[in-house]
C-alpha cells in the first residue's frame, strides 16, 4: 500500500484544521495510507529567510529526525515549506556528513500536495464537484521555486461544475512574504490591495491557491474589503462534493 507522511506546516497547524482534515481524507480516498508524525514542528523557513542560518539548523535537524524515521514520501499543503526542505535543507549541512545525506534523501521525497497528486499518484480527477466561478492565484514559491506551473490547473480542470475565470497578474506576489508582512506592513498592504482588486475584478466568487500563508493574507484582505468572495486552499475545493455547499 502507498504510504505518505503528512507535514502539516506551522501555519496549517495553527489556522487550517479543516484543510488538513480534508487533505488526510483526500489522500486516503486515493488509497494512500496516511502517517502523521506528531513530533513535527516547523520547517524553519521563518528563521532561514530572515538570515538566521545557524538558528535554522536545530529546527531542520528536528524535521530530519522526525521524518527520517519512515522512508515514506512526505506531503505538505504548502509549496513554500516544501521548497524550504527540498531546496535549502541540503545547503544547511556539510556535504559528506550523515545529516547532509539525510537532508538529500528527504529532499528527494518531499512533495507539495498537488504535485504529489498529479506527478506521483498521476491523478487529476479526484471526484470533486464545485459549481462556482473560480479564479486562481499562483503563489510565488509554488510557482517559481517548485516550478509547479500546471498541476493546480490540471486538478481544477477536472472539477465538475467549476467555471474557471482568469486572474489579471495571476503570478504577481500578494505581499505576504512571511516576516515581510510585519516588517513592511504598508508595502505588504499595497501589494495585497492590488491582488484583492484583481480578484474583485475577475468576476469569480471563489479564489483558490496552494499556500496557507498567502491564503491568510488574501482572505484577510477580502474580509477587510467587505467582499463575499471565498478564499480557499485548493485542498478544500478538491474535497467538495455534491452534497456539500
Amino acid at each position: 500500500m502507498l504510504k505518505a507522511q503528512l507535514f502539516i506546516t506551522c501555519l496549517g497547524d495553527q489556522f487550517y484544521t479543516s484543510t488538513l482534515q480534508n487533505m488526510t481524507w483526500l489522500l486516503e480516498s486515493l488509497g494512500v495510507d496516511v502517517i502523521f508524525p506528531p513530533e513535527q514542528t516547523c520547517c524553519g523557513q521563518p528563521l532561514f529567510n530572515n538570515g538566521f542560518e545557524e538558528k535554522t539548523r536545530p529546527v531542520a535537524r528536528n524535521f530530519l529526525h522526525v521524518f527520517g524515521k519512515s522512508d515514506a514520501p512526505i506531503v505538505a499543503p504548502s509549496g513554500s515549506c516544501v521548497s524550504m526542505v527540498k531546496h535549502h535543507y541540503p545547503s544547511l549541512f556539510k556535504p559528506g556528513t550523515l545529516e547532509h545525506s539525510l537532508a538529500m534523501d528527504i529532499s528527494s521525497r518531499i512533495y507539495e500536495f498537488t504535485e504529489y497528486l498529479v506527478n506521483v499518484l498521476h491523478v487529476t480527477d479526484v471526484g470533486a464537484v464545485y459549481p462556482h466561478k473560480v479564479t486562481y492565484h499562483a503563489t510565488c514559491h509554488y510557482l517559481r521555486e517548485m516550478g509547479l506551473k500546471k498541476e493546480s490547473k490540471m486538478l481544477l480542470n477536472e472539477v465538475k461544475g467549476l467555471e474557471f475565470l482568469p486572474l489579471d497578474d495571476e503570478e504577481t506576489c500578494c505581499g505576504f512574504g512571511g516576516a515581510f508582512s510585519i516588517t513592511f506592513p504598508e508595502v505588504s498592504r499595497s501589494m495585497m490591495e492590488n491582488k484583492v482588486n484583481h480578484i474583485l475584478a475577475s468576476g469569480a466568487d471563489t479564489v483558490v491557491m496552494c499556500e496557507p500563508g498567502c491564503l491568510m493574507n488574501i482572505a484577510g484582505g477580502l474580509q477587510k474589503a467587505g467582499s463575499n468572495i471565498r478564499a480557499m486552499h485548493i485542498i478544500d475545493l478538491l474535497a467538495s462534493r455534491e452534497n456539500v455547499s
Binding site: 502523521f36 532561514f48 505576504f176 513592511f184
Partner: protein, 481 residues
C-alpha cells in the same frame, strides 16, 4: 567635490509615506515595459540559451577581471585614449575635474550614466564652478527637479506628464503644455544650444570591449552620440564591472539588453568608440578619457556569492516586475540604484550598517530572477545578505539589534523542541481567543498588530492534532470523513 554617502537607508520609514502619485506613475510605465519585454522575448526561440550564455560570459569576466581590465587599458591607450584608475568616488570626481581644469572647461554636456550618479559627479562639477547639463530627457527632468534617478533606465519614471509640465513651467519660466512631444521639443531646443557650446562631453558606458578597447554606448535619444562627438573632449566614467571580453560576447549582450530593458529589439543608437579621432577632419573628439571606477567593487568581488551582482547589465527588468518596487518607487532604496538589483548592490557597496533594511525589502517572490537576462540569483543573494545582517559572515559583523537576536534565539529553541512547540500550539488559541471576533481577529497585540493593522488574522483553530488523536489514530480504517 564632496561625496556624501547616505548615513542610513530607512526603507520602512520611507515606505510608510510613499507619495500617492508614485505607484500609479511607476506601474503605468513598468507594465508597458513588461508587456514589451514579453513580446520581444517570445520572438526568440533561443532566449533561455542566450540568457545562459550571457550569465556564463559575465561570470567568466568577473572571475578574470584583472586580465580583461589590463587588456582593455592596453587597447584604449594604443588607440590614443587616456585611461585613469579611480579607486574611490572622490578620486573619480577629482580626475574629471582635473581634466576639466586643464582645458578650461566651463560647460559639460552629459549623457545618462549610472556611474556618475553613483559618484555624484554633477555636484562635484557644480562646486568647482563647471556647469553640467544632463541631456537625456529623463535625466534632464530630474536634474531640474533636483533629485536622483528612481529607475535604472527611466530616471524620471515616478513623474507623470502633468508633473513634468509643472516642473518645466517653474524652472524654465515658460508656460509648458502637458503634451509629452511638446515637452521633449522644449528640452531639445534648450539642449541643442548646450551641445554646441560645451567644451566637454561626459558619458557612462554600457560595455567596455577588452579585445579592442572599445566603449559601447546604448541609447535611444541620440544625445549620447552628441555628447561623445561634438565637444573636443570626451570623458567616459565607467565601473570596472562593465568590461566584457570581446565583440563576439557583445552580440549576446546586445540581444539581451534592449529586449529586457525597453522591449526593443535593439536600442535606437548603439555607438562604438575606440579612442579619439586620429586625423584632422575625422569625426569625434580630440581627446578621449576613460575613468575606470572601482569605488568598492574590488572588495565586493571577493565574495563568491555576492559578486554575481556585477553580472548586471543595467536593463531594469528586475525592477519592472518587482511588486515591491512597483508600490514604493525607486527613492525608497535610498541610493542611485533601486529595485531588486539595488537591494543587493547597496548593502554590499555601502555596507550592512547603512543598508541593512534593503535585503529584507523583498518577499523573495523570485519574479526578478525569472526575467534577469544574465540570470543573477537575486533571491539567493538577498538571503545571503540577510544572513550577513542577522548573523554576520567573513565580510561583515551582524548589524541586527539585540532584541531581534533574542527573538530569533527563542524562536529557534521553540521550533526545535517539539514538546515546547506543541505546548505553544495549545496555548496560542486560548491566549488569542480573547481578541477573536467571530472567525477573525481584527486587532491583536504587538507584534501581530503590524499584521492586523493591514488585514484581520484568521482565528487560531489548531484542531488537527486533537482530531487526529481522537478520530484518526483510534479507529482509522472505520473513520469516515
Amino acid at each position: 567635490m564632496s561625496h556624501d554617502l547616505p548615513t542610513y537607508i530607512g526603507f520602512e520609514e520611507y515606505s510608510e509615506h510613499v507619495p500617492a502619485s508614485i505607484p500609479s506613475a511607476v506601474q503605468q510605465a513598468t507594465n508597458r515595459f513588461v508587456r514589451g519585454r514579453a513580446a520581444r522575448v517570445a520572438e526568440l526561440p533561443n532566449w533561455e540559451e542566450l540568457r545562459q550564455m550571457g550569465s556564463d560570459l559575465r561570470l567568466h569576466t568577473i572571475e578574470n577581471m584583472d586580465v580583461y581590465l589590463t587588456r582593455l587599458e592596453e587597447k584604449v591607450t594604443a588607440a590614443g585614449g587616456h585611461v585613469h584608475w579611480a579607486e574611490t568616488a572622490e578620486d573619480a570626481n577629482r580626475i574629471v575635474l582635473q581634466i576639466a581644469k586643464e582645458h578650461e572647461v566651463k560647460t559639460v554636456v552629459k549623457s545618462k550614466s549610472m556611474a556618475t550618479e553613483e559618484i555624484e559627479l554633477n555636484r562635484a562639477l557644480e562646486e568647482a564652478g563647471v556647469q553640467a547639463i544632463e541631456t537625456d530627457l529623463g535625466e534632464y527632468i530630474i536634474q531640474l527637479a533636483g533629485t536622483g534617478p528612481s529607475h535604472i533606465i527611466v530616471p524620471a519614471v515616478h513623474l507623470k506628464k502633468e508633473e513634468v509640465a509643472a516642473l518645466f513651467s517653474e524652472k524654465l519660466d515658460i508656460h509648458a503644455p502637458t503634451d509629452p512631444t511638446e515637452l521633449a521639443r522644449i528640452a531639445r531646443e534648450i539642449l541643442r544650444e548646450k551641445f554646441l557650446n560645451a567644451e566637454m562631453g561626459i558619458s557612462g558606458g554600457n560595455f567596455l570591449i577588452a579585445e579592442t578597447g572599445t566603449l559601447v554606448l546604448v541609447t535611444n535619444e541620440g544625445n549620447g552620440r552628441m555628447c561623445a562627438t561634438m565637444p573636443d573632449i570626451h570623458v567616459a566614467v565607467v565601473g570596472i564591472d562593465k568590461v566584457i571580453p570581446d565583440w563576439e560576447s557583445l552580440t549576446v549582450f546586445l540581444k539581451l539588453l534592449a529586449r529586457s530593458a525597453t522591449g526593443q529589439k535593439l536600442s535606437t543608437y548603439t555607438q562604438f568608440i575606440t579612442g579619439p579621432r586620429r586625423e584632422e577632419g575625422e569625426f569625434g573628439p580630440k581627446e578621449f578619457h576613460l575613468v575606470l571606477l572601482d569605488n568598492g567593487r574590488s572588495k565586493v568581488l571577493k565574495d563568491p556569492v555576492g559578486r554575481e551582482v556585477f553580472k548586471c547589465i543595467r536593463c531594469g527588468a528586475c525592477a519592472n516586475v518587482c511588486p515591491v518596487y512597483k508600490n514604493v518607487g525607486g527613492f525608497a532604496y535610498g541610493s542611485f540604484i533601486s529595485g531588486p538589483i539595488g537591494a543587493i548592490l547597496s548593502p554590499q557597496m555601502l555596507g550592512t550598517q547603512i543598508a541593512r533594511e534593503l535585503p529584507y525589502a523583498s518577499t523573495l517572490c523570485g519574479a526578478c530572477a525569472e526575467v534577469c537576462p544574465v540570470k543573477i540569483p537575486i533571491p539567493t543573494i538577498l538571503r545571503h545578505l540577510r544572513r550577513r545582517v542577522a548573523e554576520g559572515d567573513e565580510f561583515a559583523e551582524s548589524t541586527l539589534s539585540a532584541p531581534l537576536h533574542v527573538t530569533a534565539e527563542l524562536t529557534s529553541f521553540a521550533l526545535a523542541q517539539n514538546w515546547l512547540y506543541r505546548f505553544g500550539t495549545r496555548l496560542l488559541p486560548t491566549l488569542m481567543s480573547i481578541f477573536q471576533r467571530g472567525r477573525w481577529i481584527p486587532r491583536a497585540p504587538y507584534p501581530i498588530n503590524r499584521w492586523t493593522k493591514v488585514r484581520p488574522l484568521p482565528s487560531f483553530t489548531a484542531g488537527f492534532r486533537a482530531w487526529w488523536n481522537k478520530v484518526r489514530s483510534v479507529n482509522r480504517k472505520d473513520s469516515a470523513r
